[in-house]
């Protein structure tokens, strides 16, 4: 009765010559060990999963459960992160599941050219995430400070309480917002261009959701960079330095990584 059908969860693909160190990790279900399925020079990192939980019905149920998604995403990533330490790795999207080992091999055969090309692109490289956060108050202050015109208008309405001053203040507020957007946009562009110059490839991602990401202020930039292993330190130092340069905007630069090259493995979407 304990016999539940097993499927194969696939995490990512590495060259079959890769020496992986996955022994102490478990699969997304926390139970099954990781197993490599090889075919023609390619190797898929997989683990067995119970199809009652990871079949279409089970997944549909679980994907509604944010705690499950969180846990599974972390486990999926942990495997790829470990693989990245010793190999070029092409990440597959979370919950790529096959009915059998044979089906995994069939996939490796079918996708061989795309996978090889992707491995070649990411070999010796890792993905780094860079986010630039700014304090909206500091942005507005910088807008006024940097613009003589806004500073003048700001001084004019100071302490005034007439109806005319009220309107002037309204107009000023809008100008300050516009100007701070411009400053924010310029800062984000500068950071992105500087970092891109050190990267093999770059992608700008949508700003993250404030609650989900747990940040305050404005996310001016959320980007991913594919960086040669030997340049990783340099690009991180550069990110820091760029943050310093925009200190008066209340800018914080957050660097995360190394990540498996999630943003650079597939075709552009």
């Amino acid at each position: 009765v304990a016999d539940t059908p097993l499927g194969r969860y696939a995490y990512g693909v590495v060259p079959s010559a890769a020496r992986l160190e996955l022994e102490d990790l478990r699969g997304v279900d926390g139970a099954h060990p990781l197993e490599v399925v090889e075919h023609d020079g390619l190797a898929a990192i997989t683990s067995a999963v119970e199809l009652t939980e990871y079949g279409a019905d089970g997944l549909k149920r679980h994907l509604e459960d944010l705690a499950w998604v969180d846990r599974t995403a972390r486990a999926h990533d942990a495997v790829l992160h470990r693989a990245l330490a010793t190999a070029a790795v092409v990440p597959l999207r979370m919950c790529t599941i096959f009915e059998s080992e044979a089906q995994v091999r069939a996939m490796l055969e079918r996708e061989r050219d795309a996978l090889r090309a992707a491995l070649e692109r990411v070999s010796g490289r890792a993905e780094w995430g860079v986010k630039v956060l700014a304090d909206p108050e500091a942005l507005r202050a910088a807008a006024v400070q940097r613009s003589p015109e806004l500073a003048r208008r700001s001084a004019e309405v100071e302490g005034e309480s007439s109806g005319r001053a009220y309107l002037a203040r309204k107009g000023l507020e809008q100008s300050v917002v516009d100007e701070s957007r411009r400053i924010a946009g310029d800062a984000a562009r500068e950071v992105h261009e500087a970092l891109s110059a050190h990267a093999a490839a770059a992608r700008v991602l949508p700003a993250q959701h404030r609650e989900l990401a747990g940040y305050t202020g404005d996310m001016l930039l959320n980007a991913a960079y594919l960086v040669d292993a030997e340049r990783a330190d340099a690009i991180r130092a550069l990110a820091q330095e760029l943050g310093e340069r925009h200190r008066d905007l209340g800018v914080i630069v957050q660097v995360t990584g190394p990540w498996a090259p999630y943003n650079f493995a597939g075709a552009e979407r």
Partner: protein, 130 residues
């Protein structure tokens, strides 16, 4: 036979990955947002045998992004970390209005597709002619 790319020397990558306390190590301090935008949104999409169709994953990502609109539901699920941080008020995002509108439109479109009973990888209508 296509030659496989050479792997990075284990030691070299190791050094880069483990040396020098990073600003943010990716396993400790990674936010769920960092993780999901990669694990769920990216990576090579290969159809597995088990079809959770792409639509469901798309809807899920949208749901997560719009979680602000369903704070109660998140709380039910025990996801409440922002409540521990009084500074997370969610005011004044330069892009959020635009992004929210786009996402809302996307959700509506996807909902319509769902109602049509169609999957994104299938054609909603029959091809004309033939």
């Amino acid at each position: 036979v296509t030659e496989l790319p050479e792997q990075p020397g284990g030691e070299r990558t190791d050094a880069v990955h483990r040396r020098a306390a990073p600003l943010m190590t990716h396993t400790d301090a990674t936010s769920l947002a960092d993780l999901l935008e990669r694990v769920l949104d990216k990576g090579i999409v290969i159809a597995g045998d088990i079809q959770i169709n792409l639509l469901e994953i798309e809807l899920l990502t949208i749901k997560l992004r719009l979680i602000i609109a369903s704070v109660d539901r998140a709380r039910e699920m025990g996801i409440d970390w922002w409540e521990r941080d009084p500074s997370l008020s969610g005011a004044g995002d330069l892009r959020s209005e635009d992004e929210n509108r786009q996402l809302r439109e996307r959700v509506e479109r996807l909902e319509r597709q769902l109602e049509d009973g169609s999957r994104p990888q299938e054609r909603p209508r029959e091809e004309g002619g033939g």
